[in-house]
Symmetry: C2
Subunit: 559 residues, 2 copies
């Protein structure tokens, strides 16, 4: 049996646009000789639709679109994710065949951890479901259903399913590709059934979906793999057992109907695509490029603007922006002050030039003098402190926002996760903007991705950017490491504290010294209010700041 | 039997501080002759602890504190909310007696809607629980458990409970006081059991808890009511049926043990407090005062600063700040530009003077000229537009933040819900700050609260502030109503769209005209990115922007 997995890039809330994507995928799958085509979880709404599904008319509009899609389905069975309104709302997979919605499967396992809030929206189903197609039994499952052994796959396999479909919207994080393949291979073997995993691709606010649709046979061999980070219609030819109908379907499995399609007239032999799985860092870079492109385009911005400080963070963001959107949609701005060095200024100029992006130069000294003069009376008898450093950052933020307002550009911010963790950024200053591209990248990963990007032929990032000691350049001779441990110490400590919820005792056991631990976690906890006002950015680690980590601002626990 | 309800104001994460509050309440209850004292839901951690409970050492520390509290309990039974680690984590009520933790009840109904995410943290219990105290049976329940008829209260009452305790942390919203009383009266009558409702009080980030602890007899009569918005130890004398132990406890109810306390030696007759329930607007004002005081104090700020524009919004926030913190902890700033009128300037001066708060004056004209000169080359051939308006707001934001940085003051922002809804605010400008006091107040409610506050003897708000047409004063002769429908139309429309999830068809049926509907909901949907970067503020309506309403930024559905 030939099947097709439609790895589409829907836009959340764009029901009409998603309807077109789905209809086209079904038509292309049929034209390619597939008897069955699978689409991702909640394909009709895009994932995650969040509180849109609390609007009854949104759910109704999605149902209408599904009915229109179904009316065109002929000669193929299509399985499409949608929100199903029954006694309550379900996260369901509709079986479309012969011009109508034949039946549905309801997701059993609703994730409600990390970035997921599915209990907020959906009721869980509690039954498996199989359909018969050309004599073979095919089981259905949705995303989380398949991540642990057991139901619904186990009961579907017991009922005779030789293929289990999984409709998915599985957010990317570093290393997820290999974890996902191992999990699916295990599931195939446990159930002695082939698995077809069809996943959404694309960026959606803080999430990026890598696609990575797969077909695996019952022996756990990968037969076909779609490329990550792009749309794809993946075909696969499968040998499926003919179902034995002498045994009754198990009582905890719904039978969704029997369907027959005609094999294609011509012989259309098939080479299976086995796209290469990207290395971890390579995948992170690709994820950031896709997320930036999708956020910019799906939200209708004509271009982006960012400040170039001459440091690694803005260098990396500039490369990502150029790779995502092309040089002519990227504007960079250098905003030197009296504390900026000639080195960083020259590096910014060199970088913009090698990327081929335009560079605007705005000196902030006069404005800084203006603020200081205006505040002189209030600040009399007070020494310069963080206030003046923040003012410089905020002048720069204002200038970028003014360019954004005047020209309709999206401001990309350039703060990394290490800074965001310890609060080394200025609210309304360097953190002012619409999309925080690398907010979930530890500083050490920023360096690695710069090296990775410089491995390509154009080598855009001047080596001096990579070798200079990091500094905010907001006062004379400032360096990050004056007040922070080296990033090689800080980043592992932050990972354990922020992502793994280690406490002081566990951190001591890991060999960090107590003074460093107390200093760093104190900084992390006190910066919660800043993080609450950051722009959205791309999750690439196991736990990103944002919906993935929900801590109170008012909180006296710091351990 | 005399019981006591300890309406405490815990600080989230302050386990040591909360331990003291709880121990003191137990001691005071015993000294007051109570046989039983009840504390709020998750009293030991404060509510909501959010992802703190994902830290195992946090849960362990809470358990240690509970054990210390228990070791001191003697001559009284105390019921205390805490996170209970068993096979999984439960939201539980511990029964403390005779120096130890006797047993626990596990919350059955976990809210996972609106501002609540309890499925993220807890497993639901599925059994009722009763304890025997001095011959009477007492059932336990936690917050959400009691908001709908049925279990666990019904099975506890069937098992013979003549009193049902409810440990609560019930966030305030306008009108909730009366809804809560009606619900509890209904529950008492249905179950033919007295109800003792003990609730947390205080501000916690975006939530404010009004307390409003109550004792209701089995006939549905309110015997005692604690005041809203303050800490209180509420005593009540109850006549409870002696339990009939001839019937076995039902199989779905846990029996938590039998306890005996000695009645106090002296006759300590009791007058029941029946605190007055505040009117709706009065309660909203009190909620904002408490939330502002608690956010400021719990986060350790020595004072607050806010800009006074001479408009109603900043006038109301100034009153709230003064009432919350006292005049000497409030600094106001007037930042006139060439578009500011003498009227608004004078009103700001008058207001600051009648509130007795200090006023700093900073003219922003020179800085505005500085920005325009710096950007002149880039902006050549472009007309002035929103860019220049936003720059003025951002200069003001920078000045407030500079004062905040230099003097350690919390910046209060002054935007209301109507503005926040339609995006009539400047990111990093008027929305820059730490706490958005009135972000959940529709403009029409802002006016009502100003009138309410002016009903007090000091009448701080100049009448001209209340009668002048609202304007941002960012360009010549600007008025809000040039580009928005009148607030008397806008606010009801926004309530239906934002809080009730009405769609276009339903709004048309309500009599709004289509052009207005499309205009307004387009503004609301396009402003999602701005709302994502707002400071936290106080929820007072049925659905606040923030965790209460989770919509994607990237979203093409606008209906």
């Amino acid at each position: 049996m030939r099947i097709a997995l439609a790895q589409i890039n829907p836009v959340v809330g764009d029901i009409a646009g998603n309807e077109r994507l789905i209809s086209n995928a079904i038509a292309d799958a049929r034209a390619g000789g597939a008897a069955l085509v699978c689409l991702p979880e909640l394909a009709i709404t895009g994932y995650p639709p969040e509180d849109l599904v609390l609007k009854q008319h949104f759910v109704d509009d999605a149902a209408d679109a599904l009915a229109r899609i179904a009316s065109q389905v002929d000669g193929i069975v299509a399985v499409v994710g949608y929100p199903e309104q029954a006694d309550q709302l379900y996260n369901s997979a509709a079986v479309l065949a012969d011009g109508k919605i034949a039946s549905s499967y309801r997701k059993n396992r609703l994730p409600n951890y990390g970035v997921f809030d599915e209990h907020r929206y959906f009721k869980a189903g509690n039954r498996g479901a199989v359909l018969e197609l050309n004599g073979a039994l095919i089981g259905l499952s949705i995303c989380e259903d398949i991540w642990t052994p057991g139901e619904p796959e186990s009961v579907e396999a017991e009922a005779g399913a030789s293929l289990i479909l999984n409709l998915s919207a599985s957010p990317y994080q570093a290393g997820k590709g290999s974890a996902r393949e191992e999990m699916l291979v295990a599931r195939a073997k446990e159930n002695n059934a082939a698995i077809a995993f069809c996943a959404q691709v694309g960026g959606q606010d803080e999430l990026v979906f890598d696609g990575h649709s797969l077909v695996i046979n019952a022996a756990g061999e990968i037969l076909a793999r779609a490329p990550q980070f792009e749309e794809w219609l993946l075909f696969c030819e499968l040998q499926l057992r003919q179902a034995d109908f002498s045994a009754a379907i198990a009582p905890d499995v719904d039978f969704l109907g029997s369907f027959v399609t005609s094999p294609p007239n011509e012989d259309t032999s098939l080479d299976h695509l086995l796209a290469r799985v990207a290395d971890d860092d390579e995948a992170v870079y690709a994820a950031l490029v896709l997320a930036t492109r999708d956020y910019t385009n799906k939200n209708g911005f004509n271009g982006v603007v960012l400040g170039l400080s001459g440091g690694v963070d803005s260098a990396l963001v500039a490369c990502i922006a150029r790779d995502a959107l092309g040089a002519d949609r990227v504007t960079t701005v250098t905003m030197p002050s009296k504390y900026s060095s000639a080195g960083t200024y020259n590096d910014a100029v060199t970088l913009a030039s090698s990327l081929g992006v335009s560079l605007i130069e705005l000196e902030i000294g006069t404005l800084m003098d203006g603020y200081e003069a205006l505040l002189a009376q209030q600040f009399a008898e007070r020494e310069p402190d963080l206030t003046e450093e923040n003012l410089q950052a905020r002048i720069r933020g204002n200038l970028l926002m003014a360019l954004s307002n005047k020209f309709g550009w999206l401001v990309l911010t350039t703060g990394n996760k290490s800074e965001m963790a310890v609060g080394y950024s200025t609210l309304y200053g360097d953190s002012a903007g619409g999309f925080a591209v690398i907010k979930d990248l530890p500083k050490t990963l920023v360096y690695r991705l710069c090296e990775l990007r410089n491995g390509r032929k154009d080598q855009p990032i001047p080596v001096s950017i990579l070798t200079r000691a990091p500094s905010a350049e907001l006062r004379p001779d400032q360096a990050d490491q004056d007040s922070l441990p080296p990033y090689e110490v800080l980043d592992p400590l932050l990972e354990l504290y922020v992502e793994q919820d280690y406490g002081v005792e566990q951190l001591l056991a890991e060999g960090f010294d107590e003074k460093t631990i107390r200093h760093v976690i104190g900084l992390v906890d006190r910066a919660e209010y800043k993080r609450r006002q950051q722009p959205p950015g791309v999750k690439v680690t196991g736990k990103a700041f944002g919906r993935d980590r929900r801590l109170p601002i008012t909180n006296r626990y710091s351990q």
